[in-house]
Every structure is written in C-alpha cells, then in structure tokens.
C-alpha cells in the first residue's frame, strides 16, 4: 500500500496511531508506546503532535497551530504549511473559536475550549518520572505499580530547599486518580485547564515514541502538599499588583515579558489570538 494521498502517513502508520490513541484514552495518562515514523520535520520540532494531527484530520477541518502561544512564529508556520499541504481540504485558522483541531507547543489557549474541538500537544518528554529516574524500564515499572514515591520526595525536597516546588512548566499531575503525567512544557498557568476539560487532549511524543491522552471531563490534579498548595504564575509588579497586558489590559492571562531598550519591560498577552479577540480583532479586514 503506498502512502495515502491525504495526511502524508502510510496506511499502516495511521492505523497504528489510531489504535494507540484509543488505548491512550481508555487508560488516561498511561503512555502507549508506538513505532513513530520519521517525518520530514526534525525530531524535537513537533513530530509527535504532527503525526497525531495527520492521523485525525479530515477535509473540512479547521486547524490552528501555535508555538509558544503564537500562530506565526516560524515553527508554527512551518508545521501548519506542511499539514495544509499534506491534507487537502483542511483550512488553516488562527482564531481559537473557529478551530476544530489545535496543535500546540507549550500553551493551551486562554479562551475556554469548546466541545467538538481536539487539542493536540507536541511533547518533548512524555514521562514525569524522568526527572527522578533515567531508565525507562524502571520508570515503566514505577508507573505500573503506581510507585510515585521518588517524585513526591523530589517535590518535598524542593519545598524544603526553595519553599516552592522547583518545577515551573511540565508540572506533574495525576490523571483519573491513577497515572501521573507530564503535561508537556505548558506553564503551570495552563495546567488547571486540563481538569474536567470539555475536550479530549491528545499528547504525541515522536522522538520518545509515546502517545497519551486526557479524555474530556477527567480529573487532572497537580501534585501538591496540603500545606504548600499548587500555585500558578503570579505576574505581580514591584507593588504586588497583578500585571496587565499593555495591549488589551487583561489581568487574567499568561504574559510575555518583553525587555525594552534602556531598561524596563513591557508585558503583554502571550496568547496572540486571545489578545486580538479582546481588542475586537483590530487587524482584521
């Protein structure tokens, strides 16, 4: 069987990914191994997410591709161009509200996701235990037995030493009361959005050859201690006030700090589309 004329991947690769996706949803947070084909995009640049998108897309879908919250940073542009060329009939969009499939690196859109949408994540490190155990065979055993003691010890030692868990992004969370996941390098800010979300979240780690998932309406709880609760990024100024976006004035979004020439910084929304939406899409025709 030659390569499918839609979606770049050959029929065997697509079926393997389909099977892995279903089992990933059936065992939320468990990392399903899969063969992971080479793509014409380099490993580390989003091949896992890309393979998932290419496997699920249909003509008529509207895809949004973001990298660090931006639709037209170079990597997002490159991936989107490849997807659109490989999938005739798939429409590229930037507005979160219009997208049916969102492929992302490092962010979840600020706008609440709607039923019918699919979130697809590019994942560099699928295993939260990697920070305490380098050997994969041992990590598989730990997941199998639900043995997360060493991860808890690491968090505890962080709190003792730093008064804070020294994990900013890739913050570990327990899914459906069982498996602990690495939610990919989304900031802490985005982690609560996974909890009882309206949509499925599909994670693809191409280089590490794993697929995992969080179904909709599923409990996702960041690891935390009773006396040291999980906290998201604060974005406070010197007076302790919440910073606002210099562009749309939002004080409830994840911010980019942009250092200015001559000192000082400008803060603005990281999620380009959310910021534009709040401003009523000033650049739209």
């Amino acid at each position: 069987m030659a390569a499918d004329d839609f979606g770049f991947l050959d029929a065997y690769a697509v079926r393997e990914i389909r099977r892995a996706l279903l089992k990933a949803l059936a065992v939320p947070g468990y990392q399903v191994p899969y063969a992971s084909r080479e793509m014409p995009i380099a490993r580390g640049f989003g091949t896992g997410g890309l393979q998932l998108s290419l496997s699920v897309l249909l003509p008529g879908d509207r895809i949004k591709v973001i990298d660090q919250g931006a639709d037209d940073s170079v990597n997002a542009v490159n991936l989107r161009r490849f997807i659109v060329a490989a999938c005739p009939g798939v429409q590229p969009v930037t507005r979160t509200a219009e997208a049916t499939v969102i492929q992302t690196r490092h962010r979840i859109p600020e706008r609440p996701l709607m039923p019918g949408q699919l979130m697809i994540y590019q994942v560099p490190y699928p295993d939260p235990l990697q920070i305490v155990e380098p050997r994969e065979a041992e990590r598989r055993r730990m997941h199998a037995e639900g043995d997360y003691a060493r991860l808890w010890v690491k968090l505890y030692e962080d709190v003792v030493r730093f008064r804070e868990v020294a994990l900013s992004n890739r913050y570990p969370a327990r899914v459906h009361g069982r498996y602990i996941i690495d939610p990919s390098p989304i900031p802490r800010w985005d982690l609560p959005k996974l909890h009882r979300s309206a949509v499925p979240h599909l994670f693809g780690a191409g280089r590490e050859k794993k697929i995992y998932a969080v179904p909709p309406h599923t409990a996702v709880e960041p690891l935390a201690f009773a006396d040291v609760p999980f906290e998201v990024e604060r974005f406070r100024d010197e007076q302790g006030r919440r910073r606002r976006c210099a562009r749309c004035q939002a004080d409830d979004t994840y911010l980019d700090q942009i250092p200015l020439p001559g000192g000082g910084s400008r803060w603005q929304c990281n999620d380009q589309d959310a910021c534009d939406e709040r401003l009523g899409y000033p650049d739209a025709r």
């Binding site: 499918d4 059936a26 009882r196 909709p216």
Partner: protein, 184 residues
Amino acid sequence: MIAIDHPWRSDGQRQVFRRLLAAWAEPGSVADIAPWCGGAHASLAVLACLCDAATSFCDADQLLSPTDRSRLAARPAPAGEAAFILADAARPPAWVPERGSLLAPERGATIVLRCQSLGEGAVVALRGPGIAERAALAVSGLHPAWWTARACWCAYPLGVDFVFCDATRLACVPRTTTVGGEES
C-alpha cells in the same frame, strides 16, 4: 483496476475513525457512520479503520464472511489472545479476553459488539472519564451477561474496551466507565 468501496476506502476510514475517537472519548454518545459503511454493518467499518496485518483478531461468533475477514488482513487469534474481538451481543461470552498487564494495560482487548439497535432497549447509566456527570446508553439485543462479564474483566487499569455497533451507528464504553445498572 478494481474499484475500492466503503468501508475499505482510506478516506471513509478516516471519517469513521474520527467519529469513533469522539464517541470513545465521550462514552455513551452515539455516532452515525452510515455514509462510510458502504452498505456493510457498522462493526465491519470500525474494524476496517483499525485492523491490519499488525493486529490480531477473533471473529468469535463467525459474523464476517471469509472475504471480509481476509480483507481485514488481521492475524486470526483465539478470543483469549486477540487484540480485537467481534462478537454477537445477543449471545453471552463463552471466553475470557486479554485484559492487558500492569506493564502493558494497552494490550487489553477491544471488543466490538454487534447489537440490534442503539438508542432503544434497556438503558444503563454511565459515569467516568469523558462524561460530564452521567450519561445514558440504550442497547437493544444485548445479553445482560456482557455487563457482568465486563465487571469481572475490568480492574483498572486492566480491562477491556467495548464498541457497540448496530447496522449504521456506534457507541463506546471503555474500561474507565462505571456502568451503573439498568434504569427505567
């Protein structure tokens, strides 16, 4: 050149899978896949979008024609070992499927159950991942032994995943779903 019809066409299989994915992510929801079945039973369309030579398959109640079975290209296997099992929902299971292991829970079988009709018949309440609070699934022509068998087979994260198919539609009950008994 032999023309390829649904459910063997890759474009149709993509359509079926996307609906299967959505239904699987939201247990109990019913998806219509009639346009891509090509007149075949929906259960065959589901198997066609998932199976190939890399998978094992058991046609437990001999529901497929030999032609369709060979076209699936999956390795035949006994029900206790197959990754995919097709069975008649009206007959109680006479076998124990693969439930996976703690190291590989994904090896738990996918059981495709051919039933009379979805949306009619006895209703069960569903709770669990993918369900906001509670969902209801009505399946007619389902032998009640399937629910008791499922309760024995599923001990999370081990277990099996059900796909119910009537002639043109499908609904899923993965292993995470709590089935709360019949409702009136």
